[in-house]
């Protein structure tokens, strides 16, 4: 300790303080501040670059998810539309079928009734014709029968016989 105190040189101490303080001040202005600023700027740049990259990645992801969602929606919409169309088609077909059936039934029914009425008319006509023919035949027969006296008497007698028989 005594040796240390003896070795202590005030002059050296004095110069050391002056040189060192000057060095700190000079380096602060011309070296440390620009160096630290540059390093900070660079670090800040890297940080913001990383951050923006991360943001871009997230945005991309969002966009992709949106796309996916849109695609999904379109797909389900298409599905629904297809389903609707199928249903409509089926309904139309079945509707048409039943309508046609009803129409056919109606036509058939109308045909039936027409045939029936034609038949009736034909039958009636036939009946008339037959009646007319019968009367004509009867007339002709009666005329022939009544052409001479014998025959007339015979007829009357026959008729009178019939009447008695009928009693």
């Amino acid at each position: 300790m005594e040796k240390l105190i003896e070795q202590f040189s005030f002059g050296l101490f004095f110069w050391q303080i002056i040189i060192f303080v000057l060095l700190v001040l000079l380096l602060k202005k011309y070296a440390w501040k620009p160096i630290l600023d540059a390093v900070n700027n660079r670090e800040e740049g890297i940080r913001t670059a990383l951050q923006s990259a991360e943001e871009a990645r997230k945005e991309m992801q969002n966009l992709q998810a949106d796309n996916e969602k849109l695609l999904q929606e379109a797909r389900s919409e298409r599905e629904a539309m297809m389903k609707d169309a199928r249903e409509i088609k089926e309904k139309m077909i079945s509707d048409a079928k039943s309508e046609a059936q009803a129409e056919a039934d109606k036509i058939i029914k109308a045909a039936h009734s027409a045939i029936e009425s034609e038949k009736q008319a034909a039958v009636n006509d036939l009946k008339d014709q037959v009646a007319k023919l019968s009367i004509e035949i009867a007339e002709k027969v009666v005329r022939q029968e009544l052409s001479d006296k014998d025959k007339q008497i015979k007829l009357v007698e026959g008729m009178l016989n019939d009447v008695t028989l009928n009693n």
Binding site: S9, W15, F20, W32, I35, V39
Partner: protein, 359 residues
């Protein structure tokens, strides 16, 4: 792999064993050099550890020629006295300046008479008056050189950013990570959010100590950081910065320790006040002792090479000196790191915000 290694070692030992016994014999014969040689080496080491008024590169003991540059001497003794150290002729002559006589004794300037008589006290210390010595000594020159080097190096690094689009260039690629290391691993963890105002000091002190430590490893033979005045000045700056940037919390911790009984606070206050001074004192002693010890050990081992005067002992000393030099390179960086780290720690204490009660 291991077996092969051991076999090799065994072969080497067997081959060398006759030499070892021979060397041992030799060593017993000559012991370790002559008494005068040992004295010379001790004096040389002592001399090297001290500051000097010459920037000596080498000297020839026999002819007494020194190869170096005499440095200016600045004295304050009833007025400013400036003259070249060459007037002392390496302590052999008395320098006469403005009617006063000065002499050099163990690298210190003493006032004396025309004959250069030096009186000693009972501890064999000179009792002559010492003028206030503001000389530009070897250490001052080294500090100035290191300062210029640092200014060019880091000023250049700072400029290379603007020229190079924010990226370092050349040696800056090596020093920039160190600057970032001091910021991220020393300043921020120890000081916290107020670290910015201490950065200049921490960076300067780290590189200043490191470069001076490294320069101490060169054959130039400078020992700046192993000088008590230097470490005292550095530690004092740390102490002053700590004291003058301290917040209320720091002083509260020293004079009225929170969270302990009142009686204990009164007991603790003087201890804490003592601690304020012990912290920078330990900084001063640590750096001084580490660097001085490193220089003494290394130079002693180098000195052993000349004492042994046989190839086994000398080459062993050489190997040891080589290994120690590598260790000293590590210590040079480590001591700079520790000084910076502890300074940052003390600044952090001075800046600590509100403290939890359960501390």
């Amino acid at each position: 792999m291991r077996r092969e290694f051991f076999e090799k070692i065994l072969v080497i030992v067997l081959v060398l064993s006759p030499f070892f016994t021979w060397a041992q014999h030799e060593l017993e014969g000559i012991s370790t050099g002559t008494e005068s040689q040992r004295e010379d080496i001790k004096a040389f080491i002592d001399h090297h550890l001290l500051d000097s008024h010459y920037f000596t590169f080498t000297e020839d003991e026999e002819t007494g020629t020194h190869y170096g540059i005499p440095l200016p001497v600045i004295l304050w003794d009833n007025g400013l006295k400036v003259f070249s150290a060459s007037k002392f002729h390496h302590g052999e002559e008395v320098a006469e300046v403005g009617g006063e006589y000065y002499t050099l004794y163990h690298n210190k300037i003493y006032k004396t008479d025309a004959e250069g008589t030096i009186t000693y006290d009972e501890d064999h210390h000179p009792s002559n008056a010492k003028p206030l010595d503001f000389s530009i000594t070897k250490n001052v020159v080294t500090m100035v050189l290191v300062s210029i080097l640092m200014f060019l190096l880091f000023g250049g690094l700072a400029k290379s950013y603007t020229k190079n689009g924010g990226m370092p260039k050349g040696v800056g690629r090596f020093f920039e990570p160190l600057v970032v290391f001091i910021r991220d691993d020393i300043a921020i963890p120890n000081i916290g959010k107020n670290y910015k105002k201490y950065m200049s000091f921490l960076l300067t002190i780290f590189f200043f100590i490191w470069f001076l430590n490294l320069l101490g490893m060169t054959p130039l033979g400078v020992n700046v950081t192993g000088n008590i005045a230097i470490t005292f000045a550095l530690a004092m700056l740390t102490f002053l910065i700590t004291t003058f940037t301290a917040n209320k919390n720091y002083w509260g911790h020293i004079f009225w320790m929170p969270g302990v009984p009142k009686l204990m606070r009164i007991v603790l206050a003087p201890i804490e006040v003592l601690g304020m001074f012990i912290k920078p004192f330990s900084l001063m002693i640590r750096l001084y002792a580490n660097m001085t010890a490193g220089h003494v050990v290394l130079m002693s081992i180098i000195g052993l090479m000349f004492l042994f005067k046989n190839w086994i002992g000398s080459s062993l000393s050489f190997g040891l000196a080589f290994a120690l030099s590598i260790l000293e390179l590590l210590v040079a960086a480590l001591q700079a790191y520790i000084f910076t780290m502890l300074s940052a720690l003390y600044f952090g204490m001075a800046n600590e915000e509100h403290h939890d009660e359960h501390h």
